[in-house]
């Protein structure tokens, strides 16, 4: 085996490498999100304007990333991962000095969170690592991949940004699952954890148990985290089948609902657009994820398959955790609703991810030197 063979690509859709079904689903979600945000911001036009500017930038990033062929991503992966890791460490050290926010890195012109890079870099690195290992995972490669995933995860969790850390870990674990960890191991791990839970419970301190109780029964802590959930459930439930109408949500506009432009924006949409509107939102998110998985299924290399599938999953799981939290079935973890919540960083990350997915779908290998020589 010599150096990487140079693949030859067939250009689809001429010079534009876009997956149109995916793009139209994304745009529908984004536009629907814009309506909700306009209401959630109490019709503060400047907020909508700022979000539109971020969106334009993020869409531009997506377009640029669609143009880059997948083998380039593979080539750059170790570099992106290493730089991301260094930035995470830099943030940790600078945060220590400044004693302030430890998530942001100020680059003068703009600030960004290195943990966002890791949402892409960790699945890329894991996919890169498993690219050549097409057989079932061995214990040693499992160990290496766990290191790849959990070093950045722990750094992010320490910031502390538990929500992002969870997502980064999930995307990496998704790669391991696809790369072929024995299902037996997966199932035995699950059963081991569920068996160990009662024992762990027994050894926990009272205050730790109390915290878990609060997670399960927010009503018991109406002055703390429970307040958000109670209010958010009232907002969603009172929306009914058809909703109260756009800009008519009383809960959201009377400031009963906390964080209604960011983490709890789904509740604003649910109150105003009802079951029909919320279901549409969930369906859109699921369709986007399924389309991305379909692209993964048709991808031509191990690397691109693993990468596009795990990016699809990180998108879906982010949305699931956010909506689950807002509806009171998951604990309150600070994760925004992808492509809908107010804020730029997550928007750029996810659209970049979709850019990579579209690049994978549109750059198809026409002719492979190595394979050809083997065949003939």
């Amino acid at each position: 085996m010599k150096a990487n063979p140079r693949p030859i690509y067939r250009l689809t859709h001429k010079a534009i490498h876009i997956d149109f079904p995916l793009l139209s689903l994304l745009l529908t979600l984004i536009i629907l999100g814009g309506f909700i945000l306009h209401s959630a911001s109490n019709q503060d036009f400047s907020m909508l304007l700022r979000q539109t500017m971020r969106l334009t930038f993020a869409l531009g990033m997506m377009m640029i990333f669609t143009l880059i062929p997948p083998h380039k991503y593979k080539l750059w992966t170790p570099w992106i991962y290493s730089v991301g890791l260094l930035l995470l460490i830099a943030v940790m050290l600078m945060g220590k000095v400044g004693k302030g926010a430890q998530r942001w890195l100020d680059l003068g012109l703009f600030r960004f969170q290195p943990s966002e890079i890791m949402k892409l870099a960790v699945p890329m690195m894991a996919a890169w690592y498993f690219d050549k290992k097409t057989l079932l995972i061995t214990p040693s490669s499992l160990l290496v991949s766990l290191f790849i995933i959990f070093i950045p995860t722990l750094l992010i969790a320490k910031q502390p940004d538990l929500g992002t850390a969870l997502m980064v870990a999930a995307s990496g674990l998704c790669v391991i699952f696809l790369a072929g960890i024995r299902l037996k191991i997966v199932f035995s791990l699950f059963s081991l954890i569920s068996l160990a839970a009662p024992f762990l419970w027994h050894f926990m301190h009272d205050y730790q148990k109390q915290r878990i109780f609060t997670l399960l029964h927010p009503e018991n802590d109406p002055l703390g985290a429970g307040y958000h959930i109670i209010q958010s459930k009232i907002a969603i439930g009172s929306g009914g089948l058809l909703g109260k109408g756009w800009l008519e949500g009383s809960q959201s506009h009377l400031n009963f609902l906390p964080e209604h432009a960011t983490d709890f924006i789904f509740a604003v949409g649910s109150e105003e657009f009802g079951f029909i509107g919320s279901a549409l939102l969930i369906i859109l998110i699921s369709l986007i994820s399924l389309r991305a998985l379909y692209i993964a299924k048709n991808a031509q290399t191990h690397f691109t398959q693993l990468l596009s599938a795990s990016l699809a999953m990180i998108f879906f799981l982010s949305a699931f955790v956010n909506i689950g939290m807002v509806m009171g079935i998951l604990p309150v973890v600070g994760i925004p609703l992808p492509l809908v919540s107010y804020g730029g960083t997550a928007m750029v990350t996810f659209l970049t991810a979709f850019g990579i997915i579209m690049s994978i779908s549109s750059h198809r290998i026409l002719f492979n030197n190595l394979a050809t020589s083997a065949k003939f």
Binding site: P222, S238, I282, Q300, I329
Partner: protein, 615 residues
Amino acid sequence: MHFNRSMKTQRKQPKIKIRLHLLSVLIFALFSILLLRLAYLQIFQFKRYHTLSLHNQMNIIPIPPPRGIILDRNGVVLAENIPVYSLEITPEHIKNLPSTLKKLKTLLPSISEEDINHFNHVRKQNRPFVPIPLKLKLNQEEVAVFASRQHQFPGVNIRARLMRYYPFRETMAHILGYVGRINLQELKQINPSNYRATNFIGKAGIERFYERILHGKIGYQQVEIDASGRTLRVLNKQNPLSGERLYLTIDSRLQRAAYEALKDKRGAIVIINPQNGEILAMVSSPSYDPNQFVNGITFKEYQKLATARERPLFNRAVRGLYPPASTIKPFMGLAGLEKGVIDAKYSIYDPGWFRLPGISHAYRDWKKTGHGVLNLKRAITVSCDTYFYQLGSKMGIAAIEDVLMRFGFGQLSHVDIQEEAAGILPNKQWKKQMKGSSWYPGDTVITSIGQGFMLASPLQLANATSALSQKGKRFRPHFLQKSVQNDREKIHVYKILEEYPMHLKNDSYWDIITESMRAVITSNEGTGYRFGRTAPYTVAAKTGTAQVVGGFHYEKIPYEEIPEFLRDNSLFIAFAPTEAPEVSIAVVVENDFAASNIARKVLDSYFKLKETTNS
């Protein structure tokens, strides 16, 4: 294209496709969960949430828990919550506001123009149903005057808020500490939802150490409010759980006597019951009025307290570190006996100085002419320096440290206030680390009379004296006796922690030391003459005089002419009665010789109080 596909299948493991399908199934499953939950909330539970949102709407009003009060061992209140009255007006209920204000001003002349202006200013920023204070801190008379006319003023009310109050003021400040507004740093250490309605937090002393049990648990009211925010009715109420009532080991009468005895001097007194470690009184003088801090001290006042040369904010009893001087001698004597360097009969001749072999420097006794022949008992009685110079340099610093350590010198006593300092019990490593030089035999010599590097707090001295009186049995000194949870009548009695006891090779050593300390008071040449040769109770004691400036030759200058801050510190430790010790005391007075006199006053009041309590 066809060609391509065949290439692909060869290169790939087919199982990844199965797993991708599994992920699709997972997405579908999670999607269904969300949809079902959504349907449950929006369709099946719609009526419930619709009603809740219509009534609109619930608001949660936190109710602060009353802070636990603090009492002394006899139930005398040391810290309480007193109501402070303010006059409030609800603008919505007033027909003619200007005339009401005018009438109020004639009724209560203390209402100033400024109050009215401020009221009007705040009123414009709030909704009309919100009560707004017109005058804060009404006095009792004003409250009575208004209460009798209240019927003429619908919409005007008196509201009481609770404020921390320390009736003993300066007397208890260094024990109780005080509460003050919560600062940013403290905010990080507390559970914000429990402190939602609380403005004050313990800043020092008992108030700080027992903050967790003093604070209590917040309550709340779930109220229904309409769209404008007006409260319609109370849906649900959870009463706050008030903080625990603390009973301290302090006897406020003894505390007051000790405070009076030390008044106008700088120093500290600690009185402990050696049989269980209960601190009966602890004074640091000068002191401050903790109530100033509760009401919000002005920057100027605080500056004055913080920079005053007498340092009233400094807790000398637990943080003040002093050379123990001659009060260390009984412990040194005990160390000598224990290490087998001397026995009770061993005597030396004291010419008035001591010289280390091969070194010309002479370490002088406080008595220039020397004490002549003396054994251990007489050496303690007359507080002979030469005897202990010699004893110490024979024993060596390691042996000294070994025994003194067991009395708690150089270590935190873990008393239940946070301000404590550990003091210094020097050894070779300590000097190397802190001073960067090696230990000289001369260092051992001066350590033997409690000078040099050695430093101890008055609390440590009282603590060590207690251990001496109990023949090695030690207890952790403490302030908290028991606490009572008001709402549940649950009583927590705090455990008395016994420290690892000391066992000497021969129990008679204890008696030798006690006897010598007894002679300090009773013997004609004992140094305890200022205490008085006779007392209605038996006392074992030791005096101490610590030079503030080394090498100052006092004999040459009349005492009155020495600048005050250069005068010696005086120390006094004692326990009584010697047959069955039940009280031990340590007194340190800065730049004054009064320690023995003060100790006498305080011990007298202890026994007098005991008599009145018993009869």
